[in-house]
Symmetry: C3
Subunit: 202 residues, 3 copies
């Protein structure tokens, strides 16, 4: 399997798993089937959409809408089988995979457009985490992302890794792999050790 | 009355009625006059705005801001006379008219730019329904759209109808009318028979 | 100190103070450090970002990301010292300064692109007030902006002042100062006299 194909496959797994999280949120809010599909689209495609709007480039799914159908399918699966989906423990690792790949993709896209460190980490983090924020905002629930866990921080770390390695002249593919690996590693550590960012003292 | 004028008039009725829904939501949340105007603008112009941003074309009201004033007027009317507005039963039919025309307009715009079925139905549905979602999200209430009724589904159906007929080579105007008619018909059926999309079994 | 430098300095004070408001909101919602930074970015840069997207021009911080770091610093300060920040009374005046300058900046940008009165006041008001709305929406709380006070109205008034004076042929700098002054004056009056917009009678 070529590098490109492997990345594409892993990316699509990420889309599907992110969509499951949206569909599950819809079920918890007692939404109907349409709501499940909308809430599936937000985490699966929302981050990349926001990234492209902010970067001023065409939204990625205009040319390849298949990702929208995949996300809708994820919403449908979550809607039909939410008990199974919620009980399926390995999902947290598939989610970590999606997070890592989305971060690397966003960082690589911003870097490829010639942007500096600040924009690269913003875009990598946005691609990975903004969709989940949109999901929670539209579902009218407290944004989980902002309250617990080392999650977006892993995407930030992975994006910064991409910038560092690509600036040092590392090959694009190697930088991509290392970036996703760094994000995944930090996220895996956070899951295993139940790491959290500091909370305010009150 | 020419076809264009009739569509424009019906579209403006849709804008005004959508704006009323926003102003009414603001009153329910005990917002002030400015809040009523903001919440009126979101359903009246939010869907089309999002559509244009995603399609990468200039936002429609930049060239014709009159629609913003009409929406603000709707918010003002709802603010001043919310009891009358809420008691006025035929509004649900004017809303269905707005939904149908917005869907047909969005589908036609995406089709005119050369997009395929997926993008056409996404844009038609967004144009009709995303503004109401924005209204509920900003008003910090549960998104009604995602919880009850065949609503966005009617816009989806109308948009798909446009794509089908326009692809078959039907005249633009005829496709537009049939598209709006299909959306309106499904929505009218849903209102009359109290149809709903399936809800999750829990 | 030159005019440009004075405006830039005042604008950066506005960014920092707006960011403090976001960081404080995050602490109240018991968010973590990352949440404080995201909620700081929204009011500090969200309004200008939305303005640029709607105007179809490059987002202002793509070329100058320093504003993002300043906003993140504001979030950090609010996170670490939220008691001090919340107790610091003069902040309401710094916030009024930010509001006024953001309104004048937004109005000037839209006017410079050749837009008419409607678009100029929409963009001035958006630049000043939409970020606070985004902050409250993402933090899942009632949007303060839409419920109390003459706040966005001051931005609206300042933006209209810019359009009027610039249309009359007044020098750009003078129109900018008068616009910010008008917004600040109305906001100061509202703070001093506890003015509010009308609320719905129920």
């Amino acid at each position: 399997m070529s590098f490109e194909l492997a990345v594409l496959l892993a990316d699509r797994i990420g889309v599907f798993v992110f969509a499951l999280s949206g569909g599950t949120a819809a079920v918890r809010k007692d939404m109907d089937l349409f709501g499940a599909i909308v809430l599936a689209l937000l985490p699966a495609a929302g981050g990349g959409t926001l990234r492209d709007l902010l970067l001023g480039v065409p939204v990625f799914w205009l040319e390849d809408p298949s990702v929208l159908w995949l996300a809708a399918a994820g919403g449908l699966v979550a809607f039909a089988g939410h008990r199974l989906v919620e009980a399926f423990k390995p999902l947290i690792w598939a989610d970590a995979l999606g997070l890592s790949l989305f971060a690397a993709t966003g960082a690589a896209k911003a870097f490829g457009l010639g942007h500096g460190l600040s924009i690269v980490v913003v875009m990598g983090t946005l691609t990975a985490a903004a969709g989940g924020l949109l999901r929670d905002t539209v579902a009218n629930r407290e944004p989980l992302l902002l309250q617990e866990d080392v999650y977006a921080t892993a995407a930030f770390f992975g994006s910064a890794t991409y910038f560092g390695l690509a600036t040092l002249g590392l090959d694009e593919r190697a930088a991509f792999l290392a970036s996703a690996g760094a994000a995944f590693g930090l996220r895996a550590l956070a899951i295993s050790l139940k790491l959290s960012l500091p909370k305010p003292r009150r």
